[in-house]
Amino acid sequence: MKCREVVELMTDYLEGALTAPDRERFEQHIVGCDGCRAYLQQLRLTLRAMRSVEGVPIPDRVQTELVRAFRNWRSASR
């Protein structure tokens, strides 16, 4: 496997979608390749960054309105 190919398999690898032999070849390459190891780490940190994108709090007005709708549903279904 060449680095150029390995970088295109990284998502399949992270998703556990590689066949067993491909997975083995992938891992063998990664062990000996600083560049691909760094790239994989960059991808992992990219995922972490995306998960940390700040949550937008629900506006009070919207929350009040939704809770009212929920109560209405509850009293109608009793």
């Binding site: 680095c3 150029r4 790239y39 960059q42 995306m50 937008v56 709708a69």
Partner: protein, 204 residues
């Protein structure tokens, strides 16, 4: 990963208000990001999220929990947001239509000039391990990440928001979008590579 458990659905169906409030607070951010994968206008996206909750409340008695509560609610967001976009896309210009690309096209996700003719790295990518948290997860980095997601083709954007921002599993996402597991991975890969590139442009 925070998945709603079966008992959370039961509490909700029983009419437990604390459960409902916890859900709307927890999911508001990711639902809004998802709506914004289809709709640029922040206010319209907020409307879509609110409408999704109202729809969920109305349909709660009929929801049997075959998918997780989270998958179900995010599916409602997708349907409403797509309908809203269709309504507004009549305004799309002809050139915008021409520019639509095939989301499953296989092209290198890393600039080919970074490899030698033999396919090895010309210069190895930098280690990010020693970059301090406050830079990696700092304001500027977050803005770059968001801008990169917004620039993605819509079909890549919806996948990456569902998978990496809303943190849904691969199976439910393929199902929600009506695409094969493989197409889901192809789109996810292209999207992640683009966001990584945007971070690399910033972090080096």
């Amino acid at each position: 990963m925070v998945e709603s458990s079966g008992s959370e659905l039961e509490s909700l169906k029983r009419g437990d208000e604390a459960t409902f409030v916890s859900l709307i607070q927890r999911y508001h951010g990711p639902m809004l990001r998802l709506a914004m994968a289809y709709i640029r206008d922040h206010h319209i996206a907020e409307d879509v999220v609110q409408e999704a909750w109202l729809t969920a409340i109305r349909s709660l008695d009929r929801f049997e929990g075959r998918s997780s509560l989270k998958t179900w609610i995010f599916g409602i967001v997708i349907n409403l947001a797509r309908a809203r976009r269709r309504k507004e896309s009549r305004l799309l210009t002809f050139t915008a239509l021409l520019r639509r690309e095939d989301p499953d096209r296989r092209e290198p996700t890393v600039d080919p000039s970074r490899f030698t003719a033999a396919g090895d790295w010309r210069a190895v990518p930098h280690q990010w391990e020693n970059i301090p948290e406050e830079t990696l997860l700092g304001r500027e980095a977050m803005q770059r990440v968001q801008a990169a997601i917004e620039k993605l083709p819509p079909k890549h954007r919806e996948v990456i928001v569902l998978r990496d921002v809303a943190e849904l599993d691969a199976g439910p996402v393929s199902e929600l979008l009506g695409i094969s597991a493989e197409n889901q991975r192809v789109r996810l890969h292209r999207a992640r590579a683009a966001v990584r590139k945007a971070l690399e442009d910033y972090l080096g």
